[in-house]
Amino acid sequence: MTRLKPILLLTLGFLTVPLFGLITGADWFTAAISDDDFRAILTSLTGGAVALILIALFGTPLALYLARSASRLSALAESLVLIPMLMPTLAIGILLAAFYGPIAPAGAALARLGIILTNTPAAFVLAALYAALPTYVIAARAALAEVPAELEDVARTLGQSPRRVFFRITLPLAQRGLAAALALSWVRAMGEFGIVLIIAYYPQGMPIRLWVDFQDEGLQSVFPLLAVFLLLALPLPLWLGLRARRGLP
């Protein structure tokens, strides 16, 4: 290991460079958070929170199915989950605009029901869902797969319905991994730029606001919002990720 040390330090140093940019690049005394910035923070947080709730509700059953089934059908389901995850986000944005947009059949039908999925808060949530749901499902599947099926079997023979087994055995045993999966999908939802750029430019979330600030006023002006952005997106996932790595108490 000693001979590897310089390489390890170099790699870790290389990875930390962006944080140094935060210290050296900013002019903290003149910078401030504008009203637009504040609205963007609010948009991102509320949109992200709604998306996260939907992701937990709809992603967990799918993750459980993928973790417990080994059929050809589940392999197909897994590849369907992977497709949006592997596709460039800009491409997803364009394809979503083609599907949910006002002139597309699906978009038009939804619009008649009063649901408009371009440049609305709902569109922002939609973008966050496409960005983060696959990430959550894949990470949650790994967490759920670690719960021994045998424990669930025994719980069934102790008179518990599959639903009760999930809440009494599977969920408590997988909770750290599931929390880490949620944190990971939170980062994806907060940082999403490509999909948002196409279908939810308005209301502006933090990434779009950063991009607009950067374009209009230059590098110096984006740092306050950037700091808030990193503060909201990073610490929770880092903490949960490290906790999950340490395993069960």
Binding site: A155, T157, I169, L248
Partner: protein, 300 residues
């Protein structure tokens, strides 16, 4: 205390079995014979047809299932494990008295993840008994136990189950465990090849396969029939059948000799003889007729 079983499985392997459970019954078979699958089918965890409990969901079967290694819920205390199937205000009190009965009352507050193999097995038994099952299913109950405490724990386990008058089916490949049972069922090739009380079964294996499952190592043909004898029942005598030693190994305090007459035979000597043996040496064997069994070549 007895129960008639008739089950048919097609997945993950084909099993077609009819047998009886009487008291503490050992289901003896090689690994891969389908013992665990049969237990799981009886618990409703694998699809199967037959009686009792045709097409019942696992949660509606009056069955206590103890998989290999006990499967204690690691995130719950021993008390919460024992009370898992119980509802109502008295659930913890009932669970505690069960734990006390099984001699692990002092572990009630301990995390499920932090108890030994023997303790986990008793906690799993308490958990299964709390539901007052009509049948207990135990998968390899001896597998997770230390060799030093194994027999004591198993004997105790069998006594507890017997005292409660609950029929039990214990899957095992260990004929020493089967010897402790009230009734033995031999599983091979997807069906029951023989069943009976240990005394009768150990002395009268019907087939070669049954004899092998019951611990017979030596088989030879004579007079158009196949005979079997245990390795410890062969004696070395001054006169008798001449045999050549092919290999010698230590066997506890005694010796294990491989011989050829020329049919290969294995002999266990409980004590080391004064004179040393060596490979290639010719010795004389006596196979006491009372210990020789005649077995059928096929299971049919």
């Amino acid at each position: 205390m007895s129960l008639q079983i008739s089950y048919h499985l097609t997945s993950p392997l084909t099993l077609d079995v009819q047998f009886e459970i009487r008291g503490f019954t050992a289901l003896l078979g090689r690994s891969g014979a389908g013992k665990t699958s049969l237990l799981k089918a009886l618990a409703g965890l694998l699809p199967a047809t037959g009686t009792p409990w045709p097409n019942f969901a696992p949660e509606s079967r009056p069955v206590g299932y103890m998989p290999q290694g006990a499967a204690i819920f690691p995130h719950l205390s021993v008390l919460e494990n024992a009370a898992f199937s119980l509802r109502g205000p008295n659930r913890l009190r009932i669970a505690q008295s069960l734990l006390d009965d099984l001699g692990i009352g002092h572990l009630a507050a301990r995390r499920g993840a932090k108890i030994s193999g023997g303790e986990a097995q008793r906690a799993a038994l308490a958990r299964a008994l709390a539901r007052a099952p009509e049948l207990l299913l135990l998968d390899e109950p001896s597998a997770a136990l230390d060799a030093s405490t194994r027999d004591a724990i198993l004997t105790q386990l069998i006594e507890i189950i017997a005292a409660r008058q609950i029929p039990a089916l214990a899957a095992t490949h260990d004929f020493a465990l089967a010897a402790l049972a009230d009734w033995i069922v031999l599983l091979s090739d997807g069906r029951i090849i023989q069943q009976g009380p240990p005394g009768a079964l150990f002395n009268n294996p019907a087939t070669i396969e049954a004899a092998k499952l019951l611990g017979y190592q030596n088989f030879w043909s004579a007079g158009g029939q196949t005979h079997a004898i245990r390795a410890e029942d062969i004696a070395i005598t001054q006169t008798g059948i001449p045999a050549t030693i092919t290999a010698i190994r230590a066997h506890g305090a005694g010796l294990r000799l491989s011989c050829a007459i020329p049919t290969p035979l294995t002999i266990h000597l409980s004590e080391r003889p004064a004179a040393a043996y060596h490979p290639g040496q010719t010795i004389h064997l006596t196979l006491p007729p009372a210990k020789c069994r005649t077995v059928s070549d096929t299971d049919n």
